[in-house]
Symmetry: C2
Subunit: 124 residues, 2 copies
């Protein structure tokens, strides 16, 4: 499964660095059929997803990945499921928030787009 792991690591590196720099630049990673569940809200399609992400109530944010695990999700296409756990530093807070996020990546040419995206904060 090395290939899937490599793809997943490249994806999350790009995804979170983009997220932390300028969330609106994530637009090309989603499609009209993409789904985002962010805490208790659901969003369908790249436009709605980017609107949601852009309007999250913080100015600066930094993702620190603790673990990431990938598996192939299909026997017919090279799609990949990635589970990420980590810490979210919001507006420079000294108390980072724990999060879990799963991505379902669909291959398209040489790259991948996000079909499923579920984000949850983990409260103790």
């Amino acid at each position: 499964m090395a290939h899937f792991t490599t793809v997943a690591e490249r994806f999350t590196a790009i995804y979170y660095s983009t997220f932390d720099r300028n969330r609106s630049e994530l637009f090309p990673l989603y499609r009209d059929r993409s789904m985002l569940t962010w805490e208790n809200t659901q969003h369908l399609g790249a436009r709605a997803i980017i609107e949601k992400l852009s309007n999250l109530p913080f100015t600066t944010v930094q993702h620190k990945i603790t673990t990431q695990d990938a598996q192939p999700s299909s026997e017919s296409i090279n799609s990949i499921i990635v589970l990420v756990t980590g810490l979210l530093v919001v507006d420079g807070s000294e108390n980072p928030l724990q999060f879990s996020q799963v991505f379902h990546l669909i291959p398209e040419g040489e790259s991948f787009w996000v079909f499923n995206d579920v984000f949850r904060l983990n409260y103790g």
Copy 2:
């Protein structure tokens, strides 16, 4: 997405109650192609997965679900991705462990089996 949510809730209720009672009884939920990532180890196929789960180093365990979110994972079959976050009470410990787990459920007849299963403890 109500249908997916209902399926996911039924699945996790059965899965965790079975896990907490007798882990070997989870066997019918996996197939030869099923994958489990449990912390840093990977296991392929129902037999290997049940062997791993059965040999986990605790006697009693209780899962307490905090959140669960489901999305359809395909446009051609009724497969479902479920992200669960919750607490794991091991051997009656007063300090439950936080966990995140993602399941990828594949329909077969009237039921579903687990193609992908990724489990991670979340350390603060």
